[in-house]
């Protein structure tokens, strides 16, 4: 809804019952209506979104004290924030809980408060609009019933922070809904949206804001009748059955998140397997396990990344002023960028002289929308916004033009010469180039101040990072608008400066090239990839190069070699021939280093043990390049480098990013190791002078 009427009427007003005008007392507002029903509103001070910290729980404890002293006929708990119920525990608070003994006691205190809520003599109803995550969801589960406002979602994202639920979720959710489904929610960290939450039994009633008062009356009058445990749930109450299922869960989890890197899911499965019945023991075990996890490097690193993500987001101004995006070039990246922007609500024109190429972007867009669980109408609307534009007419309407043409400075210059005169006066021209310097590309532009790099990563739907690259002349207004645009389309902007490969490709290229050299030395593809995935990379460098496209990798490598004054690996002739002569360009050609079938890599033996450990040969050049980017000012600081490499290249998240990893090994020791590698394998490993700044 938009337009004058909805702006006049304003957003849907929350039904806050008698507590509408109640005073706030330590993050909570409460009042009782004439029928004796108490409405308790969560309204955390100084925040737009509720997050749960100890002070909020102490406030709840105070409120419970009043309620216990004079029980109402019913209790309604909901958020007074328009955005949603609660986003979970305050991650800053969790990260600061460094003393295990103290942490255990603080958790016990918090548990006691939710136990009191659960034990209230009156019926309790949680009302959820928007998201109820983590600790927020745990408060909901401590209530007798749950009313979901259409659009509500519920989830335990703790696993993504290297933790599991720690405020009773590990036993309250399996007690409320089917055991294996509860475990799946906690193991994947995925949210259940309204209708799914209703099916699962998390939400007892689904309604709209306008019917909430009646729904609350109905639920309090009739009570909630839940079906008893089904056959499957009763089977899960038998320990041997649980063990069989637990074993299966472990095997499946190991594939996705190996235990040595990600202990949390395994501890969660242990908790579930070992505690059939026995509520008190379960509560104790959850607390102990949670405290253990808080200590792990994995959790510390993932919580830090969570905050870095927030930091990148916070650097995206609210208003992007971009309604219409014109994408030039309907290749894999252009098509994917166009589809993504259309899905996120922008009007997009996609231009390419090759109609077939534009056509290919459409089924890809359908797949993208369906993968994002859009309804058929939402998918239709996204496709309506994605306008094939063979004649490039969109240029004159666009607020932002993203050029994703071939990586050839001459072709790009031709494109700019044609398109720039058609642009609106304020329109921004951005390039998605991954290898060409902005300085050169901006050379013939009439308005170089309105030109910048906007570098998306492949696959666009999976990697949340976008590099916003400024050249010397790029206006600050333009940088801000591009960062805002990234925020508006749910991407994380990393503002970097022009430099060969910017940040992510500069770091990634030596890693990919080293893999090429290893292949040249006779090491098997699979063994190289295994080394990298053991380190924690989501995909090995050989497979990744195939996915990116070997031609693109070669372009980037050549371009980096020509622009950098530092020694880089010689690109082997056999590799150049493979790409240029044989056209074995990777996944898109069904053949690169690997064979590909229907988009799937065909590996021969993915458990082939490498004979020697060349992890450092692969990983350290990446670190070395990051240090160089820091020294040259391409990247702002170590936080930004870590966030960019994790969110743009999938660098092992549990290690916290390349700089965090370097710090954990010790900067000096990494530098010495690089010297050692340089002496053995060549100058490409010689440590950057920037390492001494880190020591």
């Amino acid at each position: 809804m938009s337009g004058p009427i909805s702006s006049q009427l304003g957003p849907d007003r929350l039904e806050l019952g008698p507590a509408r005008d109640a005073q706030r007392d330590r993050h909570w507002r409460a009042a009782t209506d004439t029928g004796g029903v108490c409405w308790l509103l969560l309204d955390v001070e100084g925040q737009d979104t509720n997050t749960i910290n100890e002070d909020v729980l102490r406030g709840l404890s105070d409120q419970l004290g009043l309620i216990e002293a004079d029980p109402p006929s019913g209790l309604v708990i909901r958020s007074a924030k328009p955005g949603g119920f609660a986003a979970g525990a305050d991650v800053g608070m969790l990260a600061a809980m460094t003393d295990p003994k103290g942490a255990g006691q603080r958790l016990r205190d918090a548990h006691a408060i939710l136990d009191r809520l659960e034990d209230l003599p009156c019926p309790t109803v949680a009302v959820v609009h928007g998201a109820a995550l983590g600790a927020g969801f745990e408060i909901v589960l401590a209530c007798d019933a749950c009313i979901a406002i259409d659009g509500a979602s519920f989830g335990f994202p703790e696993i993504k922070l290297g933790l599991h639920p720690g405020l009773g979720g590990t036993f309250r959710l399996p007690a409320r809904i089917n055991d294996t489904k509860a475990m799946k929610m906690m193991l994947t960290g995925r949210s259940a949206h309204t209708s799914k939450a209703k099916d699962l039994g998390i939400a007892d009633v689904v309604t709209q804001e306008r019917h909430l008062a009646a729904a609350v009356r109905g639920v309090l009058a009739d009570g909630i009748k839940r079906n008893g445990p089904g056959l499957a749930d009763r089977a899960m109450a038998i320990a041997p059955a649980r063990s069989i299922v637990a074993r299966r869960m472990r095997a499946k989890t190991q594939d996705k998140a190996p235990q040595e890197h990600y202990p949390a899911p395994f501890k969660l499965i242990d908790l579930w397997e070992q505690h059939v019945g026995g509520r008190e023991a379960q509560e104790e075990a959850e607390i102990d396990s949670f405290v253990d996890l808080l200590e792990t490097d994995t959790a510390r690193n993932l919580m830090r990344l969570f905050r870095l993500r927030q930091k990148l987001k916070s650097r995206a101004p609210d208003e992007d002023g971009v309604e219409h995006v014109h994408v030039i070039g309907a290749g894999q990246m252009g098509g994917a960028i166009a589809a993504w922007c259309a899905m996120k609500g922008k009007t997009v024109t996609l231009s390419d002289p090759d109609l077939q190429q534009i056509g290919k972007a459409l089924p890809a867009a359908v797949k993208l929308c369906e993968g994002a669980h859009l309804s058929s109408l939402e998918t239709r609307d996204a496709l309506d916004r994605l306008i094939p534009d063979p004649d490039g007419e969109g240029a004159s309407h666009a607020d932002l033009v993203i050029e994703a043409g071939p990586e050839d400075a001459g072709i790009k210059a031709e494109i700019y010469a044609k398109v720039e005169p058609r642009l609106k006066p304020d329109a921004i021209l951005a390039t998605n180039t991954s290898s060409l310097g902005l300085e050169g590309l901006a050379h013939d532009l009439r308005r170089p101040g309105q030109f910048a790099g906007l570098h998306f990563f492949n696959p666009v739907e999976k990697l949340p990072l976008v590099e916003v690259v400024s050249a010397d002349k790029t206006e600050v207004r333009v940088q801000d608008a591009l960062a805002a645009f990234c925020g508006a389309v749910d991407k994380l902007p990393a503002r970097v400066s022009d430099g060969p490969g910017y940040l992510v490709n500069r770091a990634l290229t030596p890693y990919l090239l080293e893999a090429v050299l290893l292949i040249g030395e006779g090491i098997q593809n699979e063994a190289i990839d295994l080394t990298a995935t053991r380190f924690g990379m989501p995909t090995g460098p050989v497979e990744l190069a195939d996915r990116i496209g070997l031609d693109i990798c070669l372009d980037v490598a050549d371009s980096l070699r020509s622009q950098l004054d530092k020694p880089m690996a010689e690109i082997p002739d056999w590799f150049r021939d493979k790409v240029r002569q044989e056209r074995h360009t990777g996944r898109k050609a069904q053949r690169g280093f690997y064979l590909w079938k229907d988009g799937n890599v065909q590996k021969i033996d993915s458990n082939n043990e490498p004979k020697e450990d060349f992890t450092d040969r692969l990983i350290l050049p990446m670190l070395n390049a990051c240090v160089e980017c820091l020294r040259k000012g391409v990247a702002e600081d170590e936080d930004q480098v870590d966030a960019a490499l994790v969110f743009g290249a999938g660098f092992a998240p549990f290690r916290g990013g390349p700089m965090r990893y370097a710090r954990s090994r010790g900067a000096l020791s990494v530098r010495d190791r690089l010297e050692e590698l340089a002496d053995i394998h060549g100058e490409r490993f010689r440590p950057d002078p920037g390492w001494s700044d880190l020591a």
């Binding site: 938009s2 024109t349 109609l355 459409l362 609307d381 309506d384």
Partner: protein, 429 residues
């Protein structure tokens, strides 16, 4: 108040896609969106600045009630865009232009998007009235006994859906199919099977030439379906057809002796078309470059059995009202519902007695030069999406007049149910 001039600024259509026995890739609104979006992009007009959207459509599908409004919203023209759908059967796409023309002429609007759309391949299967009653009975039956009794009323006929399209192409008053009305005209005006077939061959040849010469480049815009397939030209064309090939076809409507065959009739097709209409004020304010001026329009009605003669009635009145004669009209688009029907119209205009008695002329209207009629082919080669064709012939007339340098032109069509519509265009200054 003085009539304000009304200009046709631009227009575009989808390729016409022949219905091939199953549902095509686009619904009626999908088609309208496909050609509407790029058309709106290429003019210096913010799509929200239009005053009105009018769309002709005959076979509206249940998910797209008032397709004009659905299309306007889906094309991003804004919540505040008024949009309505018009229907006069085969004249709907021209009726939308005529309505927009009148709104602008009278000073109520400055910018109107007027179109036509039809997805005949999506025409619904309908139940017979008996079957609908039976289903209703089942739905309201109370209890198992009642339902069982209802069940016994089921007859095999009830399960046989009626093809909605077939009913739609049958005159509801005379119960004649459109093809039969063409048979009647062929008989009454002495149009031979050979003449009809050779006219049909010419339609294909002319369309092929137009495609080949690139004369349709700005008129037919590619449509992209969800599977990534690009539809970039009218696909019902058979450039290699010949009178010999057509002679082998069996009659479609009156077997076995009839003369109207699938080869000399228009094709069943999906397609959409839009034109942008603007007042003089809008033209000068926005720096638009009109391709033609809409001078006037005329509708006429006659015995449904002779519906094919509709153009003769309305076009003649239009010409006479403006004090013009046949030779003042440089170009004609006369929708090719059937070859025999087009030829019957020409014959009627050459028939002195017919012109005197029916058209109240002193003499025969005269012979229309085949070199000035449907010069780039017509519905026989490219198909006849009923709600769209009236729009297409006006759009194509305007574009062809500009290409050829003709000063005046008329687009006209016969309309199932016994009507005709005609529109007079003049080259824009």
């Amino acid at each position: 108040m003085k009539d304000r001039p009304v200009y046709l600024v631009d227009g575009a259509r989808t390729p016409f896609l022949k219905a091939r026995g199953r549902r095509g890739p686009f619904t009626p609104v999908d088609l309208a969106v496909q050609c509407g979006r790029p058309l709106l992009l290429r003019q210096p007009i913010d799509r929200r600045d239009f005053d009105l959207v009018i769309l002709g459509c005959v076979n509206v599908i249940a998910d797209e009630m008032n397709p004009a409004r659905v299309a306007a919203l889906r094309m991003g023209m804004g919540d505040a865009m008024v949009a309505f759908t018009v229907q006069i059967n085969c004249g709907s796409g021209m009726q939308s232009i005529d309505t927009g023309f009148r709104y602008i002429r009278d000073g109520r609007c400055d910018l109107v998007l007027a179109g036509g759309t039809e997805a005949l391949s999506h025409a619904p299967l309908v139940l017979s009235a008996d079957a609908a009653d039976w289903y209703a009975g089942m739905a309201t039956a109370k209890g198992p006994v009642d339902r069982a009794l209802q069940l016994t009323d089921l007859r095999p006929d009830h399960l046989r859906p009626v093809i909605g399209l077939e009913r739609g192409l049958t005159d509801p008053v005379t119960d004649l199919s459109m093809g039969q009305t063409a048979e009647i005209l062929a008989y009454r005006f002495g149009i031979s099977r050979e003449a009809a077939d050779s006219y049909a061959v010419q339609s294909h040849r002319r369309l092929e030439r137009a495609q080949h010469e690139g004369w349709l480049a700005t008129e037919v815009l590619p449509a992209f379906d969800r599977d990534g397939k690009v539809h970039d030209r009218d696909d019902g064309i058979r450039p290699d057809t010949s009178t010999a090939a057509l002679a082998a076809l069996k009659p479609a409507f009156e077997k076995p002796y009839g003369n109207v065959t699938p080869g000399n009739s228009s094709q069943i097709t999906d397609g959409a078309s839009w034109v942008i209409l603007a007042s003089e004020e809008a033209v000068s304010k926005r720096g638009l470059e009109p391709i033609a001026r809409i001078v006037d329009s005329e509708w006429a009605a006659l015995d449904p059995a002779f519906m094919g003669l509709g153009p003769v009635l309305c076009a003649t009145s239009l010409v006479r009202r403006h004090g013009l004669a046949r030779e003042d009209i440089g170009l004609w688009e006369l929708n090719e519902a059937f070859a025999a029907q087009v030829l019957a119209c020409l014959a009627a205009w050459e028939d002195k007695a017919f012109c005197r008695d029916v058209l109240k002329l002193d003499d025969a209207f005269g012979r229309i030069d085949p070199g000035r009629l449907n010069v780039d082919g017509g519905a026989i080669a490219l198909g006849h999406p009923v709600g769209t064709s009236g729009n297409r012939i006006v759009l194509h007339l305007a574009k062809a007049m500009r290409r050829r340098g003709d000063r005046r032109g008329i687009a006209t069509e016969c309309i199932g149910g016994g009507q005709g519509g005609a529109m007079l265009l003049e080259a824009a200054a």
